[in-house]
């Protein structure tokens, strides 16, 4: 599976941890969403092309909690995550207080809504 299906927060945290310092692209989609169906093969193609980027998908109906936590309103929404490269005393303290010491950065660094494949690809190339 080049696009990992993610069902809940635990699975997402595991996925983000496994990504290390790679860019992670999470698509929030739904079965009833026409544009999602259109962009699906394009995302799969990107997952094969950009091997140093991790791709995941969350179905907003199957994983309501996750959709709520990440304030997903429009479908599809693409959120991108990347672990900070620089580790400083400040970032260590911040992580300890903000992320319950989990050490995982689970806030997206970028989000965009809509099924614009070109825009998605351009952003991936910029951030990866």
């Amino acid at each position: 599976m080049m696009v990992q299906i993610i069902k809940d927060m635990d699975e997402l945290k595991t996925f983000l941890k496994a990504a290390g310092s790679k860019l992670v692209v999470v698509e929030f989609s739904a079965k009833w969403c026409g544009p999602c169906q259109k962009i699906c093969p394009l995302v799969h193609a990107m997952s094969l092309q950009y091997r140093n980027v991790m791709f995941a998908n969350v179905d907003v109906d199957d994983s309501r909690d996750l959709a709520q936590i990440y304030h997903v309103k429009v479908i599809p929404t693409f959120q991108m995550f990347k672990k900070a490269q620089k580790v400083t005393l400040f970032s260590r303290l911040k992580r300890a207080f903000c992320c319950n010491g989990s050490g995982i950065v689970s806030k997206p660094i970028f989000e965009f809504c809509g099924a614009d494949a070109q825009k998605l690809e351009a952003k991936i190339r910029e951030l990866m």
């Binding site: 739904a30 009833w32 969403c33 907003v60 709520q68 309103k73």
Partner: protein, 525 residues
């Protein structure tokens, strides 16, 4: 308490008595209630039971005005097993899918018209599955949209089936059986209604479906018998016919009871001209399943005294709707319902027999079964409860449209109602048979395209009701509803310039009265 009594009229003496009793009970319950509230249940300012048109509008408005609000919504599966998400009847099994399927059927008509206008189109078959998937996907996107809106407005949503424990407490059960106790200062009941099954008819429950199921069918219903004369029956039969399905409507007495009967006849006349079969004056007695899977329906024709049978793929019951009050345990809260309709009795402020419990939408007695009135009533109620307004919902001159193949839009009184209220000598009816321009080239039959305006005879001739039968009736009627709300007179209508060429302009051009006996057919420009 004072607010509750203010709205009470002579008809609501029971409410004054009940309110006094409730006040006495509340004094006792207040202390106990406080103790219970401390015991781990969730407490809200406003609890809305029912996440449909009325419930959601009320909840979102109250939350916006700063209240702590919870909505509980639960869809009991239909006897067929059909279920759906947040949004209520309108979104899931009413207005929305209905209008989309009506549009699908209208497009079929346009495909037929197209060659006249130069398009080299052959007659094309219709694929139910494609349409159904598209409609169902749109409905699901609306379910999602409603959930997002509730989150945005910080309204807590529970997908649980609620029932009263006492006047301030509701117990909700989730699909998995988990119980949640919720209490609130104010409770709004907006549980709507569900289609009625004729359980006294053998085979009705086992083999028939209702509108709850029709819009969620993945496969075509095929040859269908629609039983009923409501707008649900006629709208469904209308689009089924338009999609190319063999459709029969069985009507026990009159079509569209409560609507202007002259208009209702024209509606069914048009449907018949388009191929819908009508069995008038008949009632079904039993439904059986044949070995090949088809349904055999037996019915009685009282006029001939004979029994007849027919074979169909689908039997659709559209014989009325019943309010969702049975499983609420309303007695535990002291909320009274009408002994005939089972709907919740309310006053002009939407208050029930219990001062802090309200009911809006289809579940309330005497209210139109329409989304926009439920929404507006819900919003006004929220505003009143938050002390933002003292405005009361005005249920007069509510416009509506029946989306049958030839659409019927109306606002105000029917001709019968106007005559009953004012007397025939005091009522003037202006009318016209017109032909939509689009029908000419397409060689469509416009025999039933008709408009009538019911007015007072006395100058300036206040408009009491407007009735429009024709394409885009909903769009046409909406604008005129504003005119009627503002107290438009026929004199003003006469001075309103029409937009040309449209069907709507024919309303402003009405000049022939029924009383004159002159031919009301519009000719030329």
């Amino acid at each position: 308490m004072a607010a509750a009594l203010r709205g009470a009229g002579g008809r609501f003496r029971w409410r004054i008595r009940a309110a006094a009793a409730a006040a006495a009970a509340a004094a006792v319950g207040g202390v106990r209630g406080a103790t219970r509230r401390a015991a781990g249940r969730q407490n809200y300012d406003l609890l809305v039971i029912g996440g449909g048109s009325g419930g959601l509008a009320c909840a979102k408005e109250a939350a916006q005005l700063g209240k702590k609000v919870a909505v509980v919504d639960y869809v009991e599966p239909s006897p067929r097993g059909t279920r759906w998400g947040l949004g209520g009847t309108c979104v899931n099994v009413g207005c929305i899918p209905k209008k989309l399927m009506h549009q699908a059927a209208l497009l079929g008509g346009m495909v037929q018209d197209a060659p006249h206008y130069g398009w080299a189109l052959q007659p094309v078959p219709h694929d139910w599955a494609t349409m159904a998937e598209a409609v169902q996907n749109h409905v699901k996107s609306l379910n999602w949209g409603h959930r997002v809106q509730l989150q945005d407005r910080k309204v807590t949503y529970f997908n649980i089936k609620a029932s009263f424990v006492d006047a301030h407490t509701v117990c909700g059960v989730s699909k998995g059986g988990k119980e949640t106790l919720l209490s609130a200062e104010h409770i709004i009941i907006a549980t709507g209604g569900r289609p009625r099954y004729p359980t006294h008819i053998e085979g009705a429950l086992e083999y028939g479906i209702t509108s709850d199921d029709l819009f969620w069918l993945k496969e075509s219903p095929g040859k269908t018998l629609v039983v009923g004369a409501s707008y649900v029956a006629l709208e469904c039969a209308g689009f089924l016919t338009g999609l190319g399905l063999d459709t029969t409507v069985m009507i026990r007495s009159i079509p569209l009871r409560g609507f202007d009967q002259q208009m209702s006849s024209l509606v069914t006349e048009y449907m018949a001209s388009q191929g819908t079969r009508f069995l008038r004056g008949c009632t079904p007695s039993r439904v059986q399943r044949l070995p090949d899977g088809q349904l055999q329906v037996t019915w009685e024709d009282p006029s001939s005294g004979k029994e007849d049978t027919g074979t169909f793929n689908t039997v659709l019951w559209a014989i009325g709707r019943i309010p969702e009050t049975r499983s609420l345990n309303l007695e535990k809260a002291g909320v009274h319902t009408s002994p005939t309709s089972q709907k919740i009795l309310v006053d002009a402020l939407e208050t029930t027999s219990v001062p802090h419990i309200y009911a809006i939408g289809d579940v309330a007695e005497g209210r139109p079964e329409l989304t926009p009135t439920a929404i507006m009533a819900g919003k006004l109620l929220a505003q009143r409860l938050c002390g933002q307004s003292s405005d009361v919902m005005d249920y007069e001159n509510v416009p509506t449209t029946v989306f049958t193949p030839l659409e019927y839009g109306c606002v105000g009184l029917s001709e019968e109602e106007a005559v009953a209220r004012h007397g025939e000598e005091h009522v003037e009816v202006y009318h016209a048979y017109y032909k939509p321009l689009e029908f000419t080239v397409a060689e469509r039959d416009a025999s039933q395209c008709y408009i009538k305006m019911v007015c007072l005879r006395k100058p300036p001739q206040l408009v009491l009701g407007l009735h429009f039968l024709g394409p885009n009736a909903g769009e046409v009627t909406q604008g005129f509803a504003l005119g009627i709300k503002c107290g438009a007179s026929y004199a003003q209508v006469m001075r309103t310039v029409g937009i040309h060429p449209t069907c709507a302009e024919e309303v402003a051009k009405l000049r022939i009265s029924k009383r004159s006996g002159l031919d009301p057919t519009v000719t030329g420009c």
